[in-house]
Symmetry: D2
Subunit: 357 residues, 4 copies
């Protein structure tokens, strides 16, 4: 099979680096274009990330030799790629994402800028694959033919939205109260000063609670002809904390259903849950998207974040809540499932459904 | 004023060390007896804690020269002390606390063993000073004249019970959902292995959720003639996490009242709150027991745990909750307010009320 | 090729777990026997390590089903294995290692107990493969036919001995002054209390400086007919610190040669260095055993410890020393190269040289 | 006694904050002027440091109400202060330190800019109080009457220079090889990204090794009529590491003397050492400037950094070195002794000697 050519916008940042690492042996996609801000443009990738390569594995030699284009060089991108991943910071996303899409380059974005746009799907493949139909209306509305924008949700919510999705069809959700414990890598680089987080908890992350409360309701929303109506029968409260761990966002969840299920039924639903990515056997999809840990003290951030190659959600500690029906703990890897891995899974689903060609 | 002589049971452990540090310049109390298990008995204190002195300040020279008695040597204790602090581990507390009380030595304990005993007050001085009247019934029931046992509550709950107490009289509480982020020093020494908590969150602490849910209801309970009836009109759910910080237990709280107050009224209630320790101007009492932080990202564990010399509770981030009425964050120092400092405050209140003589 | 059957003694401890993980897809070896102390004997492996599985990757399902034998059950071991890895603690190593060898089971050990025995090679395959000839004399002396004991060196020294070995032949060494910064995983489990190492440096590790100074001289020693004479022309001083990182032992090295080489010659020697494992293309051998980092601030513990799948040594910051000739920084992964990975490499070399059959 | 009025240049940064905290109850000095860059000028101090107050103790209420002047407002400074502390970053120090001194304002600086200037003393009060005579020549040479500049040395060297000074007179030093383990607070704020130092060691600090090798030789230098000749009979090699601790710089030292003393003589010299600050009984001076820890595993960073209110140097682990005569470990608090505390001690000595009036 001839590989699909992909570009990475914002290739030198932390999320860009993760795309590079994670795509280097991808069975379908092949990196053929890297773009960054003017400071890195023209350099070889390995020179541009010297002293700021943050991945555990060393940089691949061949990828290190690729030249970096200016983010302005949309023409080269158009010639070289079937689609792009956007790992741009919000400000740059605001300027360039529509430019690239207008140039008929499909765009799978990690940026938050378009998540609230009514014609842009916020895609979590195990949950709302059906929302991709909105691409047709987006293209029609905006006058694009091949170009479009699909965004992935904020990294904080995979740990509770996917486990709750596994229950939602059988046991409609009423109230969800979440407290997150989020890793420092979620803030990018340089991100948080060591002096701020060393031996410390910061019970606040700018804009994070809003995203963590609003995006799930859009993901669980109903697709009308040309827009998504957010779910309005679920109450969701999310408090977000920054904690001194490297990777892995944890969620402590209390949930009330329309009717209380048995705990056995919940665990069974988690273990049997399979979403569209599993049905289509997508390369990045974990075979078991939700892994229930029987041990009383799991999931733990460092021990469980790599489950399913960083793409599975681990859950544990299911027990009754004195106020709502149940409590549990969820965990997902914020820079894999919550960033590059999640973006690649989005791309695989979108490609498989024929939106990229 | 001639000082009251006090003993410390379990003097070499972490909490015992904290008592030692904190009592060395106490205006009312003077250390005159130290007891420990057989391994340390007979040694000088400084030799017994060599290589295991965990306090920030160096050990006081004079206190270091004190000899350690065997915990069995109740007679010496009786001769030398007006009362004792018990920093014994649960197993030892089970054996010795009643023995000491039977020997007519008043006992102010940090151990959890007697917290559920119906005739033993769980004292949080800003909240339930009135429960001390139970001492008379305890003495009568058990045939003790001067001896008694009063315990302090678990270190996890000060961060939410005291701020909620400040609201409770004006605005009766209905539902309280808490997630805690608790420091490693809460587990004592050696406590947690570095390999377990380094770069990790452990969403489980043995027995902690039970204590965190039950003890507040006893503290808020009604004193009947000879026992305390736990509050039965409040629903309380507490999820406990261990996080990699040295000191400071944080609580993320969602609360529903009988009637929703304004946020201004809540902040005012916090700022104006004064308990019995403040009214009596007890030496260990923080003049401002609850400190509300205006900054959007406070309280933070490392920055705020020492507020009020480690005895104040800091609160912040008061805001509406999409499910309950309000959300906020509370913080207390687990080894000061939650351990030795809290114990000393208990002793001061008890002494001032005439139970020790 | 039919696989060689291997056993693991001390299978449930941290090093034992690493052997299990690392051997699960080994091309030559296959795990067929697990032994542990009485507390775990009889259990399935997965039950025995429940709540104490410390590896990043989840436990392999098939290996989890293996039963654990008592360490006393040498007969079963003899029937089931061609050789064993010993990950026993020192006390157990003292009792059992000779018993297993007497039962004619070759033993490749991580324990320190036999490192000073004059007829036991301390094997670092890139350095002293030739010392394996001592096995014949060991067997003769002790009356063993197939059984023998070979030990691997302490985990602290790979970071400086291998880089210095690459220089030693061309540029004889005179004086080596080393300061190490060693990870918490080096102390095993539970090992170090979080309270001891959180936000702290401990400039002392029991017995470590002695091992770090003596073992290199034995490794660089001369094989006489029936014993190894430690090198006596090198002065070696090693100061050891425990630092709050998970994995990776770093060494800051100052070195004086008989004659001062150029820095180019040193870097070239490092880059071109290949030991016996590389010549034999052993499965566990890193193709490039020493990786020189050009960046001014490398190697760094978290970024570089996994170089060469955790088996390579990274070096950097080569520069002149105001007192000795040169200074540099070395880094090796203490639980891979310094423990299970190093042990497996030893086994591969020993097997390839025909000592196991 | 009427207090001396002092200003703080760079008052909002980390070191500036420490000056504020540490001076608030000073018996001789009183803060009467705060200056900062244009962004903070005109604000109240408490507003300027909101969300970036990094001290353990809350900001003093009265000091928080002080207004911040522009660093350009030298005239106000002249009117309000007898002298200033400069906590300016290097770039600003380059511009403003001479301006303030030209305006006849004595300046005690933490900045590195003037440390190599031949007419500027690098003052470590226990070591080279005599170098203050250079102030006369500096004033003469530069045409200043009351103004002058004295700088304090880099924060890395107190941990080894002071202990070595205690030995130097009796036992002349020949070779000193040091490896430092330095805290993250040494890099200021925001300083180091959490992603760079979390679970990591960085074996490089920009410019630090040069300062750590050159400044001690100037401090130990000989005062000629109008300049300081650096010591040329000591060889000094310093390797610097950044480690994940909050505060406290540790040094692992190997030292060779002209003649080898006994270890008892060394320990005695440390315990008996008193410098000019102790003789003059300066308020900031620790009564015991060097504290020798008998325990085999001390000093430890978290446990010992506050010794002598953060102003004492703790040493330990004195033992023979296989290459040089002895090895030991030194520790000093980098933001107290190494920054504001050290600056205040400098000011006290300078004031006591009559250079400020």
């Amino acid at each position: 099979m001839k590989k699909i050519k992909v570009g990475i916008l914002g290739a030198t940042g932390m999320v860009g680096q993760q795309y590079l690492q994670r795509l280097k042996e991808h069975p379908w996609f092949e990196i053929s274009f890297l773009a960054s801000s003017e400071t890195s443009a023209g350099k070889k990738y390995k020179d541009a990330v010297e002293n700021r390569w943050y991945q555990k594995e060393p940089l691949d030699n061949e990828l290190g030799k690729l030249s970096i284009h200016s983010i302005e060089d949309i023409e080269s991108c158009h010639k070289n790629c079937h689609f792009v991943f956007s790992a741009l910071p919000t400000n740059a996303a605001k300027i360039y994402e529509e430019k690239y899409a207008s140039a008929e380059i499909p765009e799978i974005s990690n940026a938050s800028y378009h998540r609230a746009s009514i014609d842009v799907p916020v895609l979590l493949p195990e949950v709302n694959a059906k929302h991709l139909e909105l691409i047709h209306y987006q293209q029609k509305r905006r006058g694009w033919k091949k170009g479009f924008i699909v965004v992935k949700p904020n990294c904080s919510l995979q740990s509770y939205v996917i486990p709750l999705e596994a229950l939602r069809k059988q046991f409609p959700l009423k109230k969800i109260l979440v407290t997150t414990l989020q890793a420092i890598s979620g803030a990018g680089y340089p991100g948080i000063s060591a002096l701020d987080i060393h031996d410390n908890i910061i019970p606040f992350i700018q804009g994070e609670e809003e995203k963590s409360e609003q995006e799930p309701l859009k993901i669980w929303g109903t697709l009308e002809r040309d827009k998504i109506l957010p779910s309005n029968d679920i109450q969701l409260s999310v408090h977000c904390n920054r904690v001194p761990v490297m990777d892995g966002h944890m969620a402590c969840v209390s949930v009330e259903f329309a009717h209380k299920p048995s705990s056995e039924a919940i665990i069974e639903a988690w273990q049997n849950f399979r979403g569209e990515p599993q049905k289509l056997d997508l390369p990045e999809a974990p075979s078991q998207p939700i892994v229930y840990k029987q041990e009383i003290n799991r999931p733990q951030t460092r021990l469980d974040r790599m489950e399913g190659n960083g793409m599975a959600i681990t859950v544990g500690r299911l027990r009754e809540c004195p106020i709502f029906h149940y409590r549990f703990v969820g965990l997902s890897h914020n820079t894999i499932r919550g960033a590059a891995g999640g973006g690649i899974l989005n791309a695989e689903l979108i490609y498989k459904q024929g939106y990229i060609y």
